[in-house]
């Protein structure tokens, strides 16, 4: 839980005050909140990769246990 709070706090500190003049940035996109769509898409992509990694990890763990048991008996 603490970790989530930390992350939230860190995100909050990053948010305010874009409106500096000069160089073109995607300020409109940010003010419309569409940037969160991009964040969401990237988070989903990474989640899928992670889930795949976890599944692989568990499958290999099962196989390892199986072989260890067979060697034991």
């Amino acid at each position: 839980m603490k970790k989530f709070q930390l992350i939230l706090a860190l995100c909050m500190t990053c948010l305010p005050a874009f409106a500096q003049q000069g160089v073109d940035m995607a300020d409109t996109m940010r003010s419309e909140g569409k940037i969160y769509v991009v964040v969401g898409v990237m988070a989903i992509v990474f989640t899928v990769v992670l889930v795949y990694l976890v599944l692989l990890d568990r499958k290999i763990g099962r196989l390892e246990r199986k072989i260890r048991n067979r060697a034991g008996t």
């Binding site: 964040v39 990474f46 390892e64």
Partner: protein
């Protein structure tokens, strides 16, 4: 517990870098504009590659001092995973270079150094494949890895200092100084690097375990 805590840490660090990297505030710089955020996603690929090559190098040294086949296995697999991250770094870098420096490939020592490092490891795998006998293969490839990696360190670390590079921190100053990687960016960049290195190590661990399973089954 500890067995998977670092994997959770890897996931959380990368998630954090995704969210904070896209929404956080960055310095406003001409030409770069929003692409400055690529630092959070492109540079960690290179850091992860180098970290994994370092793992490979350490295990090559270990192999030469102890001749344990396990060390050879780790050295080869680490180099293999490092190549994957290297390819990711190369492709993302090329795309970024196209839109900031104007070409897919620019003559830059850092670029050439990374490409040469990958060539060296491609040669490393060719060497491995051309020696059928296991012990000899492990020994020769360990020697080659140590020899070539030391030269590549000169390539990547020393040569860029001699000439101007398009990359920040070259041609005199060895830090990120000129990019104005301020404290806000550091707060995202370092977690991103740590997270991706941990993800790389996780993939490495999976590969090592599968190879070990393969070995036990084939006996």
């Amino acid at each position: 517990m500890m067995r998977y805590v670092w994997k959770i840490a890897a996931a959380l660090l990368v998630y954090y870098s995704l969210v904070a990297g896209l929404t956080g505030e960055v310095p406003r710089m001409a030409i770069l504009n929003e692409t400055i955020r690529n630092i959070y996603f492109h540079v960690p690929m290179w850091f992860t590659m180098m970290a994994l090559f370092l793992v490979s190098l350490i295990y090559s040294l270990k192999y030469l001092s102890g001749s344990s086949p396990d060390h050879d296995l780790v050295a080869a697999e680490a180099a293999r995973v490092a190549m994957v991250f290297g390819i990711a770094g190369l492709l993302t870098g090329m795309l970024w270079a196209r839109f900031t420096w104007g070409a897919w490939w620019v003559n830059d020592t850092k670029l050439n150094g990374s490409a040469a490092t990958m060539l060296v490891y491609a040669a490393y795998f060719i060497l491995r494949n051309s020696v059928p006998e296991k012990q000899k293969r492990a020994r020769l490839s360990a020697v080659y890895a140590i020899f070539s990696f030391s030269l590549m360190i000169v390539f990547i670390m020393v040569l860029p200092r001699l000439t101007d590079s398009l990359h920040p921190g070259n041609g005199g100053n060895p830090a990120f100084g000129s990019y104005d990687l301020d404290s806000r960016m550091r707060a995202v960049f370092y977690p991103a690097v740590a997270g991706w290195i941990l993800v790389g190590l996780w993939i490495l661990q999976i590969r090592i375990r599968t190879r070990k399973l393969e070995n036990t089954v084939s006996i």
